[in-house]
């Protein structure tokens, strides 16, 4: 079952074929930064050519609706949810067929129970695949912005974790409470970003946009690096980006 949370109605709804932020709604603290996603989606729409669905979709574990949203966020401030085997198997198939999962650990604690639980869960779903820190040259850090520092509400780890499959990384795990940096309303943000303050918040938005852009474009930016070689004799460059 999927539900739609109220968000900013900027564009007319055109069904979920466009990018939509979908979040796993499990029993427990599934949405610790309640206004973060909507605010972030607004930022995506403002800064990029992506025209996201303004509504935030929630996916109940085990719901077939998961397959209508190729992007899924799992967030939490306590322990990682215990999913039954049917729900877990559904997530495994979802990832194998092209779905993308972003896990945001909102605890702000190194090696928290939430992070350990997420690593154990995906480790058991994909035996033999490693969840490891992403190297600084990963496409994620250059899919839209050039990212050199890994931000969030807190800087628990100076890198993101990921799990590779073929030539992409369909699972990204952030330990820095990225959504915590976005949470707030028109009157201001809910949390301070530590230790970098507003610069760190801006970097968090950039990182978030890079994550969504990576989910949508994969290794596009890496391929682009080779295009000058492919398009020999490239001379003047015209037009917009």
């Amino acid at each position: 079952m999927a539900a739609i949370l109220p968000g900013r109605a900027v564009l007319a709804a055109s069904g979920p074929t466009r990018f939509a932020w979908a979040q796993l709604k499990y029993a427990g603290s599934w949405n610790p930064n309640t206004r973060a996603a909507a605010r972030f989606v607004e930022m995506i729409e403002r800064r990029t050519s992506i025209e996201p669905m303004p509504e935030i979709a929630t996916i109940v574990p085990g719901s077939e609706a998961l397959f209508e949203y190729p992007f899924l966020c799992i967030s939490g401030r306590a322990v990682f949810p215990r999913l039954d085997s049917a729900a877990a198997d559904m997530i495994r198939r979802y990832v194998e067929r092209g779905g993308f999962v972003f896990v945001d650990d909102s605890t702000g604690i190194p090696d928290s129970g939430f992070f350990e639980g997420a690593a154990a869960f995906f480790g058991s779903l994909f035996p033999g695949r490693k969840i490891s820190p992403l190297q600084s040259d990963h496409t994620l850090y250059q899919s839209f912005y050039l990212i050199r520092e890994i931000p969030g509400r807190k800087v628990v780890r100076p890198f993101m974790f990921g799990m590779d499959m073929d030539d992409t990384t369909p699972l990204i795990i952030c330990q820095n409470d990225l959504l915590g940096a976005f949470d707030g309303d028109a009157s201001g943000y809910t949390h301070q970003c530590e230790p970098g303050g507003e610069r760190q918040r801006e970097m968090s938005f950039r990182m978030g946009i890079n994550i969504v852009m990576y989910a949508l474009t994969g290794n596009y930016k890496k391929e682009q690096a080779h295009i000058p070689f492919i398009l020999k004799r490239r001379k003047g460059i015209q037009g917009a980006p």
Partner: protein, 760 residues
């Protein structure tokens, strides 16, 4: 039958023999003792006399006889196989006929006896040996050329027709083995030239093969093309290497030049090499095909004066020239799920070289960040749509609004790329496609299968509603959507696929377009294709095809979901680039190969734009290569399948057929193909004995090659035959009748008695 004799006793009871022996010894001893006092010489004479008398008595008692075993040879079949193909007659008057088509053969034909002559002579001179062998074997005389045939013994040495046009030697030997179970051995008189599988390893046989070598014969002086090794496919605009293996006899050390020519006789490449004295000389020729399709080429090597045959200095080969990779340019107006999954699919296809340009930020988006902190690059429109456009095979606009980025003149380039250069173009739906992208009055509108109509005031050009998609009758049979051959089942399958959302509006199919899928609610086209100039275009009016690849379950669950989406895009790209397998008009030759002097047919399958058979079509096919170009006469064998008889080719070479098809006054399509015309027979392509093959054949079967004058093999076969006999019975005859022993015994005993009395 072979009798074997031995001595036996009819009364051979051991008790009797013991008793008789004892009586004889006692009698001899008592006679000797009783003669004491007699002169020793006379005494010895008496002993001998008694001994002789007793010997006859023993013969009377034991009855010696002669036993005769009757044995019989098993006489397994022994094959004497004579190769009666044309190549055996090379260098002989009987070659005269073959030499007519190859004048250079005539001189050598007159000069020396052929292998056939040598074979005749050998068979004639070994008649006595065959006679002897027939005691132990059942000789089977066979001539082999196209197939093995049994002949009688007397015919063997009188074979005069060495005229077989092919020699499937290995196959024939296997057939002989099957036809004569228990075959003891085969004596083979052949040059070892298997013309059906040249160069192949001989099979192992269940019987030993003893090929006769005629080593004293000089191999004919000749240079020939042994094989032309080509890759299974060649790629357009990519150099391809072919290896010409040249055999030579009598021309070792000479320089030879090899050339490869196209069907028009244009030399594409030549290379020289020094000929090996023995064995083969490999020459590699590299050339670059510049057209796709079924192409034929010829190769020739230098012809030296005095060569036994010039016919084997050239050869033809066919090559299927395909695209190396289909180069696809994907331009998308925004990173969407449709783009993500399309990119993922195309990137996974090893046959596709994908270049993508995504608009990640529009001029309307906020720019709060310095450029050096962003990874964005300018859109290289000039390079893509002007300089490099001809290097692509397909261009896809996916939800792309050209306005802010691409000048209209570049859209003209895209249209020309499709219409004039045979490129493929696809537009995928979305808010920025078709009317939403402002394409209504652009050159792109001219190549789209859908007309962009005026939109209603205030109406959106992209409707975000659910699509009730269904295949049209044409779509159900079109290769792009053909997952299941049965049209009805295919349509049902399509309708079972995950649903789509969002569709472009104000579009109608152009008369020349074929609508493949539509929204059943309002009949709006969902997918359509069109031939436009020499290129092709496709329109998909939704941006949610990606849903096929991420299904939860249903009929396309599991790998099926991925497969449906993959198949759709693979076929769509292939159709857009005129993949020969997807052409509406397709020629083929039903015969395995076309030979000079033999009739062959040409078939042509004709399908309409919906890939339905076209009956009553008008075909115009011109055949060239057999002399003056001739027009083929077609008959319709079945709906959509046409056949024409090709005129006979008088000589080996290359043929070319170009077919144009019309139906109802409209052009349906065109196809052309080149094909090789092989010599009437491969017999004269290789002359002389292939000793390597004969050695390998003998080794693989457990036999050995023997020289014509070496009689040891035939003798060994005779000995083996002798040893391999079976006893079928016996006969026993008494040597003498009873009285013939008794009378001498009585006479000798009487003499013994009389002399004892006298000498005492």
């Amino acid at each position: 039958m072979i009798p074997l004799r031995e001595l036996v006793f009819l009364n051979a009871d051991p008790a009797w023999m013991l008793a008789a022996g004892l009586v004889a010894i006692i009698s001899l001893a008592s006679g000797f003792l009783a003669s004491r006092g007699i002169d020793p010489r006379k005494r010895f004479a008496l002993f001998l006399l008694r001994f002789a008398a007793l010997a006859f008595v023993l013969a009377v008692v034991l009855r010696p006889a002669e036993k005769e075993d009757i044995s019989r040879a098993k006489r397994p079949p022994l094959a004497v196989i004579v190769d009666t193909s044309k190549s055996m007659a090379a260098n002989s008057p009987s070659l005269a006929e073959a030499a007519r088509s190859s004048p250079s053969l005539a001189d050598t034909a007159r000069s020396s006896p052929s292998l056939a002559d040598a074979a005749r002579g050998w068979l004639e001179s070994h008649k006595p040996e065959f006679e002897r062998l027939s005691r132990y074997y059942r000789p089977v005389f066979l001539r082999v050329d196209e197939s093995p045939r049994e002949i009688s013994g007397p015919e063997l040495s009188q074979i005069d027709a060495f005229s077989g046009s092919s020699t499937p030697l290995s196959r024939s030997l296997e057939a002989v083995g099957k036809s004569y179970p228990g075959l003891a051995a085969a004596i083979l008189v052949s040059d070892g030239r298997d013309t059906v599988n040249p160069g192949s390893q001989p099979p192992s046989m269940a019987f030993p093969v003893y090929p006769v070598a005629f080593s004293e014969r000089k191999q004919p002086n000749d240079v020939w093309i042994e094989t032309v090794d080509t890759p299974p496919v060649a790629f357009i605009r990519t150099p391809v290497d072919i290896q010409v293996r040249v055999g030579a006899s009598g021309f070792g050390g000479r320089n030879v030049t090899a050339r490869v020519c196209d069907a028009d006789g244009n030399v594409l490449k030549s290379a020289a090499a020094r000929l090996e004295a023995t064995g083969e000389t490999a020459i590699t020729l590299s050339f670059t095909p510049n057209r796709t399709g079924r192409k034929a080429y010829s190769v020739d090597v230098t012809t030296f004066p005095g060569e036994a045959s010039a016919a084997n200095n050239s050869a033809q080969f066919g090559l299927n020239v395909v695209r190396d990779k289909t180069r696809v340019l994907l331009v998308a107006g925004s990173p969407t799920w449709d783009v993500k999954f399309l990119r993922r699919r195309l990137a996974q296809d090893p046959g596709i070289d994908l270049i993508t340009f995504l608009i990640l930020r529009t001029p309307m988006d906020m720019t709060l960040v310095p450029q050096n902190e962003m990874s964005l690059i300018p859109f290289p429109t000039k390079e893509l749509f002007s300089e490099e456009l001809p290097t692509f095979d397909v261009v896809i606009f996916d939800d792309f609004n050209f306005g802010p980025y691409v000048p209209v003149q570049y859209l003209e380039n895209v249209a020309a790329f499709v219409k004039n250069s045979g490129g493929g173009f696809a537009m995928i739906g979305g808010e920025r496609s078709f009317a939403g992208g402002g394409y209504g009055n652009t050159p792109i509108a001219g190549i789209l299968p859908l007309s962009i109509g005026p939109s209603a005031p205030g109406a959106k050009s992209f409707e975000p509603a659910d699509v009730h998609a269904a295949l049209t009758s044409s779509g159900a049979a079109h290769p792009i959507f053909q997952w299941i051959p049965d049209k009805l089942e295919n349509r049902m399958f399509f309708e079972s696929l995950p649903g789509m959302t969002g569709m472009n509006r104000f579009l109608t199919a152009r008369p020349e377009a074929v609508v493949l899928a539509e929204d059943t609610k309002n009949g709006a086209p969902l997918a359509a294709v069109m031939e436009t100039g020499s290129g092709r275009s496709m329109a998909v009016t939704t941006d949610s095809l990606w849903r096929w690849t991420l299904p939860y379950g249903g009929p396309v669950g599991g790998q099926g979901g991925e497969g449906v989406y993959r198949d759709f895009w693979t076929r769509a790209i292939r159709w857009l680039v005129h993949d020969p397998e997807m052409e509406q008009v397709k020629c083929s030759i039903p015969e395995e190969n076309v030979r000079a002097g033999a009739r062959a047919r040409m078939e042509c399958r004709v399908l309409d734009r919906s890939y339905q058979p076209v009956g009553g079509a008008k075909l115009r096919g011109v055949l060239s290569g057999s002399g003056k170009p001739v027009e083929l006469r077609w008959i319709e064998k079945e709906a959509g399948l046409y056949e024409a008889k090709m005129p006979m080719f008088s000589s080996p070479g290359i043929g070319r057929v170009m077919v144009d098809v019309e139906s109802g006054g409209m052009s349906v399509g065109h196809d052309e193909m080149e094909f090789t015309v092989a010599p009437e027979s491969d017999e004269l392509m290789r002359l002389g004995v292939d000793r390597k093959y004969l050695d390998a054949l003998a080794a693989a079967s457990g036999g050995r090659v023997f020289e014509a004058e070496d009689a040891s093999v035939l003798k060994a076969l005779e000995e083996t035959g002798k040893a391999d006999t079976e006893i079928i019975g016996s006969r026993t005859d008494e040597i003498w009748p009873f009285w013939r022993y008794l009378i001498p015994a009585i006479a000798l005993f009487s003499a013994d008695w009389w002399l004892r009395r006298r000498w005492r």
